[in-house]
């Protein structure tokens, strides 16, 4: 190592970045990098020179599970646990099933007071923390749903509630649009497959124009799954 010329060092750095060094050589370079600024600078220069060659690899959409997995790992590292990867979150669903009684009572009340056209599907959306029912979704036909508020929630002026759904077989949630607090909302579902039992619905708090990335990013305000009414 002591007799290494600048030329040799640069060639080593080039082949390290190119990828042609053996496992043993790679380990040696990686051990030296933190302590040898000259080698570090040579590697950095090669990283910059060759970076654009990454264009040759065709981009590939990650599976829907990859981000939640990264997020869980990062949360484990940072010791806090905000609930964001909700559609895979077992404890949340355990908690929600405990909210079944409240849901039954609300459904019963609605069925009694409204004497329908009988809905085929019903969903009660409850707050994830205290399981308080906040909205009910009913679908008298599988092509349109109504989102009915059970009270008025406060939404900050620069925020909006966004309505999402995801069936078990879908890759990720789909937005059904923004929701005004306290108002009943009718949503045609003609862009989506027919409603399914167990289909997930939720409301998240997003920026005033909704999520910028087409996927929920803000905290969940209410969440529930579709139940088929016999």
């Amino acid at each position: 190592m002591t007799t290494e010329s600048a030329q040799e060092r640069d060639e080593l750095a080039g082949e390290y970045v190119l990828g042609t060094l053996s496992a043993q050589q790679r380990i040696e370079v990686q051990k030296r990098l933190p302590n040898e600024p000259d080698l570090r600078a040579a590697v950095d220069a090669w990283e910059r020179r060759l970076l654009e060659l990454t264009d040759y690899a065709e981009a590939q959409q990650p599976s829907a599970l990859l981000w939640p997995r990264i997020e869980r790992s990062v949360e484990r590292l940072t010791h806090n646990t905000p609930i964001t990867s909700w559609w895979n979150l077992l404890p949340l669903w355990r908690g929600l099933s405990a909210a079944g009684l409240a849901a039954t009572l609300v459904l019963g009340a609605i069925l009694l007071t409204q004497t329908p056209p009988k809905p085929n599907y019903l969903v009660v959306l409850v707050a994830p923390q205290d399981k308080a029912p906040g909205w009910v979704i009913q679908a008298s036909n599988p092509r349109e749903i109504q989102l009915i508020p059970l009270g008025v929630v406060e939404v900050p002026a620069d925020k909006a509630l966004e309505f999402w759904t995801k069936a078990d077989s879908w890759q990720g949630p789909v937005s059904l649009g923004l929701v005004k607090p306290g108002q009943t909302l009718s949503v045609p579902l003609d862009k989506l497959p027919p409603l399914q039992p167990n289909q997930l619905f939720e409301l998240t708090l997003e920026g005033a124009n909704g999520s910028p990335i087409g996927k929920p990013t803000g905290p969940i305000q209410a969440i529930g799954r579709a139940v088929k009414v016999l």
């Binding site: 060639e11 082949e15 990828g19 042609t20 990283e47 590939q60 959409q61 790992s73």
Partner: protein, 178 residues
Amino acid sequence: MSSPEPLFDYEARLAACARGEQSALRDLYVQEGPRLLGVARRLVRDTALAEDIVHEAFIKIWNGAAQFDPARGSARGWMFSVTRHLALNLLRNQARETPFSEDHEMPANEDDGFDAQAHSGRIHRCLEQLDPQRRSCILHAYVDGYSHAQISQRLGTPLGTVKAWIKRSLNALRECMG
């Protein structure tokens, strides 16, 4: 087109990661996840393995954000470097130095679909100045993660020749690019 979004501020997102803002890491993932996965997938030739690598890369990005030094290169470039080296470590440690098996999938034509003219950056103009076989060596190494021995087998060229070609091609690229 796979050129980076010019308005996306990678450095600011990385600084936010260093402050513990997970939404910034998510922004970086949304922005570059598919391209990073594509790079890893091409190297390790297995989607599940490539997702493991991208998972590990984002943990390294999160943990390393505070130490990132913009003087050493772009934040975007660093994300690709982290991902590539994880994949290359895996490839080399797996002792994939064995010759290609019969069923190894390889592009059919000699130029292997590396179309330098489809890309605009300086590296591509410099690559075009190389002899086609030497250009193939560089691209097979960087993009496909092939070892010297694998390139030798792939091109039907003696191992010593491949090693010399790569050394000279790197020198030529450094001269061309500065």
